[in-house]
C-alpha cells in the first residue's frame, strides 16, 4: 500500500496560502469564479460568496470556523436549474460535500465544473456565538466552542469528491500549509502554482488518528445521552416542548429540499374539527397541533440522508438539541439500511430504491 501521498507545501498560513492559490486560479483563468466565505459589512456576520474579481479574494476567510448557510444549500441555489458551464472553485467542508452529493442524487444540483477544495475539518462554531463583542475570545477558544455535531463528527476527512484537501485538524500542531492532491485535475492545477512546493507526505488519516478517537468517544456519549424513543412519548414531548414551529431547522437543512413540505400540505394539517374533537375528548389540547408530528416526521424523512452538519441546532431559537437527536437517529438508521450518505453519487437513496427481499432480520 502506498502510504505516502502527493502534497503541496507552503510556509505561509493556511489563509494566506489559500487566498494566494485562489487568486492565481482566477487570474490564470483556471476558474471563472470562487465560492468562499467572506465577512459581511457587519462584524461577526459572514456569508458565502461567488467571487469573480481577483481583488476581492483578499477579503476571503478560507475555512473560517463558521457555517452561516450550509454550503450544499448555497450550491443547490446555484446549480438546481442547470449545471455550471464554467469552472468554479469551491471551498467546502466534508459534511457540505456529502450533503451536496445527496442533493445531486435528488436532482437538486449538479457537481459539474466544480473544483472542490476541502479540509480535515476541526469543526465550526455556532453562528450565534460570533454575534457578540466577545467574538475574538470565542474564536481563540475554538475547540471548546464548536457545535455538538462537530464534536462528535467522525467523517471530518472529505471523501472522493474533494479535489484538494487542506490539512487543518491534525494531531500535531503544524506551521505553514499542507494541501493533499486527490485528483488528476488537482495535480494539473498544482503544476502551475510555483509558490508552492510539491512533496510527499503522510496520508491525512494517519495524521488525524488521535482526533478520530476523541470524536468516536464523543459520538458514543451522544448516542447514550440523547433521549431515545424507548424512553417513551413523554420524554419526546418534553424534549420538543419548547418548539415554536418556526421551521428554521427545516429551512437550514440541506437535505430538506421539498418546495412544499409534507407538513404544510392540506392533508397533514389538522382540521379544525379534529382539533376541537381532541380538545373535547382529552379535556384540553395543545395548539397549534402537530409539533411532534413535524419533528418526528422530518426525522423519519431525513435520517437516512443526514450528514450530521449541525446546521439545525445552530438555527433553533429555543436551543433544542435538534442535531443531536437527528445524528443519533441517523447513525442507527443508516447502519440498518447499510447506507452512507454522500459517499458516491451512484449510490441510490434507500427510500427510493425497490429491493424485493430486504430487512428480513426485522420482519417476520
Amino acid at each position: 500500500m502506498n502510504t505516502k501521498t502527493s502534497v503541496l507545501v507552503s510556509e505561509s498560513s493556511i489563509g494566506d496560502t489559500l487566498r494566494d492559490l485562489l487568486s492565481k486560479l482566477l487570474e490564470n483563468g483556471e476558474v471563472d469564479s470562487v465560492f468562499a466565505l467572506r465577512e459581511t459589512m457587519q462584524k461577526g456576520r459572514y456569508c458565502y460568496s461567488l467571487i469573480s474579481d481577483p481583488a476581492l479574494i483578499t477579503e476571503t476567510l478560507p475555512f473560517h470556523p463558521v457555517m452561516p448557510v450550509q454550503g450544499a444549500r448555497a450550491l443547490s441555489n446555484l446549480t438546481i436549474t442547470e449545471p455550471l458551464t464554467r469552472p468554479v472553485a469551491a471551498l467546502l467542508r466534508p459534511c457540505e460535500i456529502r450533503a451536496f452529493v445527496e442533493n445531486v442524487k435528488q436532482s437538486q444540483g449538479s457537481l459539474e465544473n466544480i473544483f472542490i477544495i476541502s479540509c480535515t475539518c476541526p469543526g465550526v462554531i455556532p453562528a450565534s456565538k460570533l454575534l457578540g463583542e466577545d467574538r475574538e475570545d470565542v474564536l481563540a477558544n475554538h475547540d471548546e466552542n464548536i457545535r455538538n455535531a462537530c464534536r462528535a463528527c467522525i467523517e471530518f476527512i472529505p471523501g472522493a469528491q474533494a479535489d484538494m484537501t487542506v490539512l487543518i485538524a491534525s494531531d500535531e500542531p503544524h506551521d505553514g500549509t499542507v494541501i493533499y492532491l486527490n485528483t488528476e485535475r488537482a495535480v494539473e492545477i498544482a503544476g502551475k502554482l510555483d509558490s508552492l512546493s510539491r512533496e510527499t507526505g503522510k496520508p491525512a488519516a494517519e495524521l488525524t488518528s488521535g482526533i478520530l478517537e476523541a470524536r468516536k468517544n464523543s459520538l458514543k456519549d451522544l448516542m447514550k445521552d440523547i433521549p431515545a424513543p424507548a424512553d417513551g412519548l413523554q420524554s419526546l414531548v418534553s424534549l420538543f416542548a419548547a418548539c415554536i414551529g418556526c421551521r428554521g431547522c427545516r429551512e437550514a437543512c440541506p437535505l430538506c429540499s421539498c418546495v412544499l413540505c409534507d407538513y404544510e400540505t392540506a392533508r397533514t394539517l389538522h382540521s379544525p374539527e379534529l382539533v376541537r374533537a381532541e380538545a373535547k375528548r382529552k379535556g384540553s389540547v395543545r395548539v397549534p397541533a402537530g409539533t411532534l408530528q413535524f419533528q418526528l416526521g422530518r426525522l423519519m424523512h431525513i435520517s437516512p440522508s443526514c450528514t450530521a452538519c449541525g446546521q439545525c441546532s445552530d438555527v433553533c431559537p429555543v436551543d433544542i438539541p435538534v442535531s443531536d437527536i437527528f445524528i443519533r437517529a441517523a447513525n442507527l438508521v443508516q447502519e440498518s439500511l447499510d447506507y452512507a450518505p454522500g459517499r458516491d453519487t451512484d449510490d441510490t437513496p434507500p427510500m427510493a430504491t425497490y429491493v424485493e427481499k430486504e430487512l428480513l432480520d426485522i420482519t417476520d
Binding site: D32, S33, R38, T40, M41, Q42, R45, C47, Y48, S49, L50, I51, S52, L56, P68, V69, R73, A74, L75, N77, L78, I80, T81, E82, L84, T85, A127, S128, L131, V237, A241, A242, I244, G245, C246, R247, G248, E251, A252, V259, L260, E264, T265, P272, E273, V275, R276, A279, K280, G283, S284, V285, R286, V287, P288, V315, C316, P317, V318, D319
Partner: protein
C-alpha cells in the same frame, strides 16, 4: 392578573356560555404552550399572561378556527395577538363568529432567547431592559378585542369593548360599570412615554439603516432561515412567493451577477425576500415582535417591519387590527385613489 383571568375563564366555561377556552398553559421544560380547553379541570395549569410569547396567539387561534361550528370560544391573548386575529379574519384565516377575544393591560414579554437561557426573568414594565425592544415602544398595550382586563388606575375589572363582549358580561351577571377615568389616564400617560421612545428608536434605526446600503447592512447576517416569516401571524401562505420554482435562477445568471458586481452572495435574494415580505404583509403588521424573537442572527427585524408598516399604513390611512369592518387596502378596488403619489 392570572388568577382574575382564570376565574373569569372558569366562570364563562362553567356557565356554558362558551364551550371552550383558548389560553396559554404551563407546559414541560418551562414552556407556555397555547391550550384549547374544554374541561374546567385543565384550567389549573393556565398561565394567561406568560413571561414570553412563544407562538403568536392569532396563529394559534387560526390553526383551528378557519371555520367555526357549534359552541362559542373565549380566547385570552395579548392586545397585539387580538389585533392580528382581526387581520386574519379579514384574510379568511379565522372565522371570528362565535369567538370572543379577551385582552388585558399587557406587561410586555421577555425576549424568548433570553428567557430560554434564564427562566428566572420576569417582565417588568418599570425595568425596560426585561422586555423586548418592540414591547418597550408599544402604544397598543391595552384595549383590544371584545373585552379587556383593566388592572391599573385602581381598577381590577373586565371592561366590555364590543357588543359581543357586553353580551358575555351580561350573561355572567357581571353588571359593574367602574369608573375608568384613572385607568384611561394611566394608559394615556404610558402611551405618551412609549410614543417618545418609539420616535427616538425609529430615528436611530433610520439613521443606521437607510437606503440600499443600509438595508444591505442590516440584513448582512440574514441566513435565509425564514423563521421571521413562519412565526409571523400574518404570513399564512403555505407556499411563499420566494419558494416558487419559477423564481429560480440558472447558474449562468448567478455567474453573471458575480461578474458584474465582483462577487455575488449565495444563497441569493436576501433583500428580495424581506422587501417582498414587507410589501405583502406590512399593512397588517401589528408590531408583535414574534419575528425578532425567532431570528437566530439578532437582526432588529421586528422594529424594522414595524417602522415600514407605519409608513405603508399611512399611505392608506389604515390601522391594522382595530376594526374588523375596515377592509384591507390591497383587497379593495377604488377607481380614484393615491393621486398624490402620481406625477
Amino acid at each position: 392578573m392570572n388568577k382574575i383571568i382564570v376565574d373569569f375563564l372558569e366562570k364563562a366555561l362553567v356557565s356554558g356560555y362558551v364551550s371552550s377556552v383558548l389560553v396559554p398553559s404551563k407546559g414541560p421544560d418551562n414552556t407556555f404552550p397555547w391550550t384549547l380547553v374544554s374541561d374546567v379541570s385543565a384550567l389549573t395549569k393556565a398561565e394567561s399572561v406568560p413571561p414570553v410569547m412563544s407562538v403568536q396567539g392569532a396563529k394559534a387561534l387560526a390553526s383551528f378556527t378557519q371555520s367555526m361550528t357549534e359552541g362559542k370560544l373565549l380566547a385570552v391573548m395579548r392586545p397585539c395577538e387580538a389585533r392580528a386575529a382581526v387581520e386574519l379574519s379579514k384574510l379568511e384565516q379565522i372565522d371570528l363568529n362565535n369567538i370572543i377575544l379577551l385582552t388585558m393591560d399587557c406587561p410586555g414579554a421577555v425576549p424568548l432567547k433570553e428567557y430560554r437561557r434564564n427562566t428566572g426573568i420576569e417582565p417588568d414594565i418599570s425595568i425596560t431592559e426585561t422586555i423586548r425592544p418592540l414591547c418597550r415602544q408599544c402604544t397598543e398595550f391595552t384595549s383590544a378585542g371584545d373585552l379587556c382586563l383593566a388592572m391599573h388606575g385602581g381598577l381590577r375589572a373586565v371592561l366590555p369593548l364590543t357588543p359581543a363582549g357586553q353580551e358575555l358580561l351580561d350573561s355572567l351577571g357581571m353588571k359593574a360599570e367602574p369608573d375608568t377615568s384613572a385607568w384611561n389616564e394611566w394608559a394615556s400617560s404610558l402611551r405618551t412615554e412609549r410614543e417618545a421612545a418609539r420616535t427616538e428608536n425609529r430615528m436611530s434605526l433610520k439613521e443606521a439603516y437607510s437606503g440600499l446600503q443600509g438595508l444591505t447592512e442590516v440584513f448582512s447576517g440574514c441566513i435565509s432561515c425564514r423563521s421571521c416569516r413562519t412565526v409571523c401571524p400574518i404570513c399564512y401562505c403555505r407556499l411563499c412567493f420566494i419558494d416558487m420554482k419559477d423564481r429560480r435562477c440558472p447558474a449562468s445568471s448567478h455567474l453573471e451577477r458575480s461578474r458584474s458586481s465582483g462577487a455575488a452572495r449565495l444563497t441569493s435574494d436576501t433583500l428580495l425576500f424581506h422587501i417582498g415580505r414587507m410589501a405583502h404583509m406590512s399593512l397588517s403588521c401589528v408590531s408583535c415582535g414574534m419575528c425578532e424573537d425567532a431570528c437566530p442572527q439578532d437582526i432588529p427585524i421586528g422594529r424594522l417591519v414595524s417602522m415600514v408598516s407605519a409608513g405603508t399604513t399611512d399611505v392608506f390611512n389604515y390601522r391594522a387590527g382595530s376594526d374588523p369592518e375596515d377592509p384591507l387596502p390591497l383587497n379593495t378596488f377604488k377607481l380614484e385613489e393615491l393621486h398624490e403619489y402620481e406625477d
